[in-house]
């Protein structure tokens, strides 16, 4: 396993939290981000090491620049692993969607991920080694009413994954995406009971996945065993959407 810090964004809860803890358990030095100071403090506490949790607002490039500067000040190791997990939803039917709802979701999920990745890529290029995993969503590939903004952001993220993978592959930097289907998390808690029933009809395994199911796929893509995989998508959805 390559030395170097692993960063997980959106790590204070849900899938991100699970990815964070699984990487800690497998021996990585991990840093997590959250949108609030409480969330950041909770991450440091969870890991049991000071300066493990940082505040990050992905909608604000200044906040992203500050994050990278702070991490470099506080830690001497290079950042070798990046898991772009943070994401938001602001669901609404197309006709009712406010311009802000569209912009907010695109800004955080797609543009923010672009900025953070760009800032961290320089050191990976210098080191000629790096691993980037983008957490997308199956919704970017299948239609889902009420999520034109979210689905567009995730489809965009996957396109970015492939282009960046092509740019940096020769430098031993891999860039892949994991596409969760319906996973038990705060995000999926917002789904109404009636809609859940309908969704379950389409899931071959007839249950929602756990955050751990997603974390395992991420861990694989970060591992030495995945060195020859880049620009790929791994779908973790209980057999809902079989490509």
């Amino acid at each position: 396993m390559k030395q170097g810090i692993a960063i997980v964004t959106g790590a204070s809860r849900g899938i991100g939290k699970e990815i964070l803890t699984s990487l800690v358990q497998s021996g990585h030095k991990v840093i997590g981000t959250a949108t609030t100071t409480n969330g950041a403090a909770a991450i440091s506490e969870m890991i049991g090491r000071e300066k493990s949790g940082y505040v990050l607002d992905l909608s604000d490039r200044e906040s992203i620049v500050r994050l990278v500067q702070s991490i470099k000040q506080d830690h001497s190791e290079p950042i070798s692993y990046l898991v772009n997990n943070a994401g938001i939803t602001q669901d609404n039917l197309m006709l009712r969607m406010k311009p802000d709802q569209w912009m907010n979701v695109l800004n955080v999920n797609l543009t923010g991920t672009f900025h953070l990745t760009q800032l961290l890529l320089k050191d990976m290029l210098k080191a000629r080694w790096g691993r980037i995993v983008n957490i997308s969503s199956i919704v970017g590939s299948i239609g889902n009413p009420g999520q034109v903004n979210y689905a567009a952001s995730k489809a965009g993220l996957e396109a970015m994954t492939r282009c960046l993978a092509a740019e940096v592959a020769a430098r031993q930097i891999t860039v892949n995406a994991v596409l969760p289907g319906y996973i038990q998390s705060d995000m999926s808690e917002q789904i109404s009971e009636g809609h859940k029933e309908k969704v379950l009809e389409h899931i071959a395994m007839k249950r929602f996945g756990s955050p751990a199911d997603v974390a395992h796929a991420v861990e694989f893509l970060l591992s030495d065993g995945a060195a020859y995989m880049t620009g790929q998508r791994i779908v973790v959805d209980g057999g809902m959407y079989m490509l």
């Binding site: 320089k122 290029l125 210098k126 940096v168 020769a170 430098r171």
Partner: protein
């Protein structure tokens, strides 16, 4: 006497692109003459930053496509810093 900026730039270019030192002159363009691809060119600038312990601003970086242009930009940066 210590190495000139040109000599150090040339050394980085030779090492990074694996070209013959005799091929490299002030007028050599990275992509046209020395066979670099666009990512090589970006990485060369990163290597210059390391060699000279400086940061080449993005808007300047985009206009540096030859050995001479790199030498000039680095000289200007070093002048500003001193």
């Amino acid at each position: 006497m210590s190495e000139t900026v040109y000599e150090r730039v040339k050394k980085v270019v030779v090492e990074h692109l694996g070209v013959d030192p005799d091929q490299v002159s002030e007028s050599s363009s990275f992509m046209g003459d020395l066979g670099a691809d666009s990512l090589d060119q970006v990485e060369l600038l990163l290597a210059f930053e390391e060699e000279f312990d400086c940061v080449i601003p993005e808007d300047e970086a985009e206009s540096i496509a030859s050995v001479g242009e790199a030498v000039q930009a680095i000289n200007e940066l070093l002048d500003k810093a001193s």
